[in-house]
């Protein structure tokens, strides 16, 4: 605690009269600090929140905004002072960092800084004076400038004193004391230029009168010169006396004025020498004085008495009256009586001198204009109470914190913690207090915020060094200040952001960035907002802005594309990590970029990833799917792989389930999707052997086709049958096990109430529970009876049936309800063609399973069985073996129950496809279609377009595919072409260019008469290698001659066709 508390509390409060609102009963005043600078708003409010004021409040319609006068920063010159002194301040901080006032060099450097400060103040003061003189037409402004100038000048004087006493290096106190005294005397002289003026006047008049001593100021000047220690000047002046050459007294006096001068050398020896010399000289003076040499000349006698250090002489009114201030008197006394005394004398003798000085000037105390130099402050300095001095100075200067802040900082660097008048490291606190206040005063000026923050950087107590924890930076005044600087413009925002970062105030930096982002968001500048939000590292905000981007897009794909093409997204690659939405936007942009760049496969990859990762909000799925439509519908090129298409399908299924998109738009996508899937699967030669998970996807695809395109559905169902067939029991087992788990995929089947028989495996699924009423897969060996007869019941006794289906018949997952209701049930009792042993086998197997305890458990824990490969009983090999055995005659048949019209359609379609098909009508209304070879069957199945199952639900048409052997060798032919060139011709041509093509990679299937063209149409299959070769070949030459049905299986119906 500082010592002068009592003194400071006695200081009168500054009271300002302001037009505050008047207070009536029931009203009260409110005061609110503005965050910007030092502004207080005063308003009138109700007294208590719950009571209504009695007065009619007609006069309450205004607020009064009062502010801390920041006049110091109002004038350009003073702002320049602030800016330039900041530079010096920074220099000081660097020095201080090196070593706190310890080494001589630092002290010298600090002294230089101090002088620089003073030079700045001096410059400023004179500049202000000049502008005050210039501003004659505005008396108020001129007065203000003049006032400020005087204030600065006074400050400079004080600063000089502080510099002499505290800043300048003090080598050894004993040796330095006389030197400091001299400097002090010099200081007093500098700021009291009176004698020089008098002398000048004197000399002027001397020219006229020839007797300067008659001038009223002659002796006064002489005394003053002596008081200021300028004995040489005094002698010169005395020599101007008209009697100087004649009167012995004058000659003696002039001799006595040869006062020994102390010259500072760095040893104590010189002090002693000077002391001796001074004593001898003063003794001489006294001897002569006591001898009465000057008695006849009272004025001269007084002069000599002063030289002799006579206390009474100093107390004489004419001497005291000469002095401008008590400290001038004090210094003179010290100089002449005790020049080698230590600095303590200053404080000791000060009261006496002050009393002397005030004796003659009772009213002087208050009359003195500027309160700075009235003595209190100097007295404190002489007493060594620097801290108290600063406090008082701050009180005197009011809102001008510049002086105390800089001075306190300088002193802090010079003296470290041990300063007179402060205890316990209190000086650092003083310094910080002033720095804080100075910064705060600069807040009012928007242009000065950087300076303000820079000062705060060096508040080590309240600042960042205060707390050792890493969070300390978060609570510093810099932060309080930086987040309050309004980031009005981009540039300023950048500056504030950089300032925060430079100080490690990351949190504040984020706050600033967030604020700017928020503001830009409100204004609708999304790009800008996004940039700042990313800088703020705020995922929520980034997501929100990304949402805005997407929202602005309006949800349709065009808008989405527009949003994605925004420039702001161009350079935000890294920002994608911050938010899913952002990542989506970036990926979406990538998708469009790739599409426009023609990298379709890559684009498809991006789209599929986007949808499969569930990264994007669901409401944008449809947009993305629609964006994919052009890619899906590309005829000549399979852009998507089947796996990717499955991803897309899952997304679509979820969409449909969530029921959050218009159904018609979904259907469009669905149709394209299933179409594309079919093509892709054929293209890839989709393989089922280990694809039990694909099975699920196939089922899903089936579901899609169900509402989109019956042709696709049937084709896919057939794929399902093949998949089930090749995966065998493993997949069906899995089917059963995972029915619950994968209900997500199966749910779409709920509307499916038809019965399918497609092989030896039978699934029974109810609409409400298992989504598929029944799905049967029956694969039978070729049976001539089946072709000829309408009823094939005895095929059950053929050895191939258990071989084909036996080992792999699973337990239908939800058969129990069915069997309870109808123990002897056959799923579709009406369908004659399906009354084969497949069902009996199924039923038998089911009974078997009922006996095993394991099935119950399996049913209860379906999730554990999702991996079919875990099933130890994999009957696949057995399957293959039996197939090989029964491969006798390749006859491929489809046995189906359908109306005549449907069959006609079918035949028509197959005619268009050049498929030779035999239709045999059974007595019970079912139809058996027979194909020559498997390729034809495959083609036909793929194009079962005209059997529109949706229209014949009452017929429950079961479809039985009969075939005699495992998947055909023509599987390896990826592409089918038909044309008029012979196969030999093509083979020769391609082989000539690509000699290493495998010989069996091309195969002719069928030759038919070409329609509307001469010659024959050749129908042939190409393996992958051959197809590539064909594509690489000079295709244009062939196109003219060839009727090329590229990827025949993917062929689309001609426009205007019946459906």
């Amino acid at each position: 605690m500082f010592q002068g508390e009592a003194a400071s509390s006695q200081q009168p409060e500054s009271s300002v009269a302001l037009p505050l609102p008047t207070v009536e009963a029931g009203c009260q005043l409110g005061a609110a600090w503005s965050s910007l600078g030092a502004v207080v708003t005063v308003f009138k409010a109700a007294a208590a929140a719950s009571s209504r004021p009695a007065v009619a409040a007609a006069s309450s319609g205004h607020l009064l905004e009062c502010r801390w006068s920041t006049e110091f920063h109002d004038c350009d010159t003073l702002r320049r002072l602030a800016a330039e002194s900041h530079r010096v301040f920074l220099t000081c901080q660097r020095l201080g960092d090196a070593s706190v006032g310890s080494s001589a060099e630092t002290r010298e450097a600090l002294l230089r800084c101090s002088k620089e400060y003073r030079a700045l103040m001096h410059d400023c003061a004179s500049e202000l004076m000049d502008s005050a003189a210039a501003a004659t037409d505005e008396p108020e402004a001129a007065a203000f400038l003049e006032n400020q100038s005087q204030l600065l000048a006074a400050c400079q004087i004080l600063w000089h004193l502080v510099e002499i006493l505290w800043v300048a290096p003090r080598y050894q106190s004993a040796a330095a004391a006389p030197q400091i005294l001299l400097e002090l005397v010099d200081w007093a002289r500098l700021h009291c230029p009176q004698p020089d003026r008098w002398i000048a006047e004197l000399l002027e008049s001397a020219n006229a009168t020839d007797a300067p001593e008659l001038h009223q100021r002659f002796w006064d000047s002489l005394y003053l010169l002596v008081l200021q220690g300028r004995t040489v000047d005094a002698r010169n002046l005395l020599s101007q006396h008209s009697q100087a050459g004649r009167q012995q007294q004058l000659k003696d006096a002039m001799e006595l004025l040869n006062m020994p001068k102390y010259s500072f050398v760095r040893d104590s020896q010189s002090v002693r020498k000077f002391d001796v010399a001074h004593c001898l000289w003063q003794k001489d003076v006294r001897v002569r004085l006591e001898a009465g040499l000057f008695a006849a000349h009272p004025q001269l006698e007084l002069l000599v008495e002063l030289l002799a250090g006579d206390e009474d002489a100093f107390a004489r009114p004419e001497i005291v009256g000469l002095c401008d201030s008590w400290y001038q008197l004090l210094l003179a006394r010290l100089l002449l009586t005790n020049p080698t005394g230590s600095l303590d004398c200053l404080g000791r003798e000060a009261p006496e001198a002050e009393a002397l000085y005030k004796r003659d000037r009772p009213s002087q105390r208050d009359g003195d204009g500027d309160g700075l130099l009235d003595g209190v402050l100097v007295r404190l300095l002489f007493d060594g109470q620097v801290g108290q001095f600063l406090a008082e100075a701050a009180g005197c200067l009011g809102s001008n914190w510049w002086f105390v802040a800089h001075l306190a900082d300088l002193l802090h660097h010079c003296l470290g913690g041990e300063v007179g008048g402060c205890s316990g490291g209190g000086f650092g606190a003083i310094r910080e207090h002033f720095l804080l206040e100075y910064s705060h005063s600069m807040l009012g000026r928007a242009a000065l915020w950087q300076l303000a923050v820079s000062y705060l950087d060096y508040c080590s107590n309240y600042g960042r060094h205060y707390q050792p924890s890493p969070h300390a930076a978060a609570a510093t005044p810099q932060e309080a200040l930086l987040v309050r600087v309004p980031p009005e413009s981009q540039r300023k925002a950048e500056q504030i952001f950089a300032a925060c970062h430079a100080r490690g105030l990351l949190d504040s930096a984020n706050t600033v960035a967030r604020t700017v982002a928020r503001r830009a968001l409100d204004k609708g500048c999304l790009g800008n907002a996004l940039t700042w939000a990313i800088r703020a590292r705020d995922p929520r905000l980034v997501a929100a802005i990304a949402d805005k981007f997407l929202l602005g897009a309006g949800g349709d794909s065009a808008g989405l594309a527009r949003a994605a093409s925004a420039d702001a997204l161009d350079c935000l690659a890294t920002s994608a990590l911050l938010s899913n939405r952002m990542a989506f936007l970036c990926q979406y942009k990538l998708f469009h970029d790739r599409v426009s760049a023609g990298q379709l496969a890559e684009a498809a990859d991006v789209a599929a990833q986007l949808l499969s990762s569930r990264m994007i909000p669901r409401r944008y799925w449809l947009s993305l799917l629609q964006d994919c439509l052009p890619l899906l519908e590309l005829r000549h090129q399979a852009v998507f792989t089947s796996a990717q298409l499955f991803d897309l399908m899952h997304a679509l299924a979820e969409l449909r389930q969530a029921d959050c998109a218009p159904a018609e738009r979904l259907s469009v996508v669905q149709a394209s999707l299933s179409d594309a899937l079919r093509r892709a699967m054929i293209d890839e030669n989709f393989h089922y052997s280990s694809a039990s998970s694909s099975l699920m996807e196939l089922m899903l695809a089936c579901r899609f086709s169900a509402s989109a395109n019956s042709r696709h559905r049937s084709w896919l169902l057939r794929r399902v049958s093949m998949a089930t067939h090749s995966a065998g029991a493993e997949s069906s087992d899995w089917f059963r096990g995972s029915a619950g788990a994968s209900s997500r995929f199966l749910t779409p089947f709920s509307s499916w109430t038809r019965v399918w028989k497609l092989g030896s495996t039978m699934y029974s699924m109810k609409p409400a529970t298992l989504y598929i009423d029944r799905l049967e897969l029956i694969i039978k060996s070729d049976n001539p009876v089946c072709m000829d007869k309408s009823k094939p019941p005895d095929t059950a006794r053929e050895p191939s049936i258990p071989a084909a289906g036996g080992p792999s018949i699973p337990q239908p997952s939800n058969m129990e309800v069915d069997s309870a209701a109808n123990p002897a049930e056959t799923p579709t009792p009406r369908s004659g063609a399906s009354q084969n042993d497949g069902f009996q086998v199924v039923n038998r197997r089911r009974r078997d399973d009922k006996t095993s305890a394991g099935s119950e458990r399996k049913r209860q824990q379906p999730d554990e069985r999702t991996d079919p490969s875990l099933d130890p009983k994999r009957p696949k090999e057995a399957n293959a073996g039996t197939y090989a055995k029964v491969a006798t005659e390749p006859k491929f048949k489809i046995c189906m129950e359908a109306s005549i019209g449907m069959i006609d359609d079918f035949l028509w379609e197959n005619d268009a496809l050049d498929i030779k098909v035999e239709a045999i009508r059974n007595a019970n209304g079912s139809v058996i279609l027979a194909f020559k070879d498997e390729a034809q069957l495959e083609l036909a199945l793929a194009n079962l377009v005209s059997i529109s199952w949706d229209t014949c639900t009452t017929a429950l048409p079961p479809l039985v595919v009969e075939r005699a052997r495992p998947p055909p060798p023509c599987r390896r032919y990826r592409a089918f072409y038909s044309g008029s060139r012979s196969i030999e011709e093509i083979r020769a041509r391609l082989l000539s260019k690509n000699p290493d093509l495998p010989q069996d990679g091309i195969r002719a299937f069928k030759e038919v008469p070409a329609k509307g063209a001469p010659g024959k149409t050749l129908y042939m299959g190409f393996s992958a290698e051959w197809e590539d070769a064909l594509k690489k070949d000079d295709f244009a030459a062939y196109i003219g001659a060839w009727k090329i049905v590229f990827h025949l299986l993917l062929r689309r119906r001609p426009a205007g066709d019946r459906r």
Partner: protein, 359 residues
């Protein structure tokens, strides 16, 4: 030295109850008994321009508060009609209608086509009606806590509203604390991010004789619901000072004088808390409420000490409102005698009256 800068004619038709600056001091909101809220913006000439004025409640609006701008331009108001409203600024820019002269006449600029016309409105995002009586105090939490709003009302409840999503500020969760104080009048959040967040609530009911109501301000720590209180008659306002790297909370309480309380996390207090079985209420040592300066409670984890009473010439005078400056170095207070006094703390915890603004 304080000078009157300007007088702002806010033209409320009734008493103004509160004035709130935003974080940058560039925006001002006023509320009044005439049930309207007005928002003012500082233009480039340094003049306050009315941006928006709307009727916000069906009763006198007591207090209002701005959220930190990083959450957007959000204003909260509380009213005699027992509700709290959250308002958000919505700026709509309408392009000047090109062909139609009538629409663009007022905008000025005439032949040059006119700039786009922006209209600022404040839309009500939430209307909180949990309180059973008039809501008298409102303050947003410091920004490091996120977007939270504290309110206190005459029914004695302290409610803390949390905004679950800053983009969807209409969704709030409410947490209520029963203070058992009648006529809660003011609420304040502590500002320091280095310490657990505290909420102080004060009640203005000086004449309460009920034992449960004898303490007239309470301090809660949010997580642990630790409660501190001290007795001062009729707390009119209380404010936490900006933290400024202090190791303690500084709470100014306005009653018959201004008391400054230091709230410091104490290590020794924990045993005491255990002794009292987790309950944190404990009367402060002095029974006379006038010498709070000597009183200090040390219950719970916090040591509460009154460091200084700011008073003027030793006479008792009601202090109505308090406001800290940005750095927490100067406290503005309005007094019963119609003056505004500024108190400044210095380096040695000496608080002295810096300026008296007299009518």
């Amino acid at each position: 030295m304080f000078v009157a800068m300007k007088s702002i004619p806010v033209q409320h038709r009734d008493l103004i109850h509160d004035v709130a600056y935003d974080s940058y001091g560039k925006r001002l909101a006023t509320c009044s008994s005439d049930q309207t809220v007005k928002v003012w913006d500082l233009d480039s000439d340094g003049e306050w321009k009315l941006t928006c004025s709307w009727r916000a409640h069906n009763g006198s609006i007591w207090r209002l508060a701005w959220a930190h701008p990083e959450f957007g331009q959000i204003l909260a108001t509380c009213s005699f009609d027992r509700s709290v409203c959250i308002w958000e600024e919505v700026t709509t820019t309408t392009a000047p209608s090109a062909g139609v002269g009538v629409a663009s006449i007022g905008i000025g600029g005439g032949g040059s086509g006119g700039r786009p016309l922006t209209t600022t409105t404040f839309e009500k995002r939430a209307h909180l009606v949990e309180s059973a009586l008039s809501v008298t105090g409102i303050q947003f939490a410091p920004r490091h806590v996120g977007l939270q709003l504290g309110t206190c009302s005459n029914d004695g409840y302290l409610r803390i509203y949390q905004f679950s999503d800053i983009m969807q500020i209409s969704v709030l969760y409410c947490e209520a604390i029963h203070t058992k104080m009648k006529n809660c009048s003011c609420i304040a959040w502590s500002q320091s991010r280095l310490h657990p967040t505290l909420i102080a609530a004060g009640c203005s009911d000086a004449g309460a004789t009920d034992a449960a109501c004898k303490d007239s301000f309470q301090v809660y720590e949010l997580q642990e619901d630790s409660r501190k209180f001290a007795k001062t008659p009729g707390v009119n306002d209380l404010q936490f000072a900006p933290s400024l790297g202090r190791s303690f909370h500084l709470l100014a309480v306005a009653s018959q004088q201004i008391s400054l309380y230091k709230l410091r996390l104490s290590t020794g207090g924990q045993q005491q808390q255990q002794q009292s079985g987790g309950m944190l209420l404990q009367a402060s040592q002095s029974s006379s409420s006038l010498d709070v300066g000597s009183s200090s409670g040390s219950t719970g984890r916090y040591a509460l000490s009154c460091i200084r009473i700011l008073e003027y010439q030793r006479c008792q005078m009601s202090v109505w409102r308090l406001s800290w400056n940005v750095l927490g170095t100067v406290l503005a207070s309005s007094l019963e005698d119609g003056t505004v006094r500024l108190w400044q703390g210095n380096y040695a915890d000496q608080w002295k009256c810096l300026t008296v603004m007299t009518p």
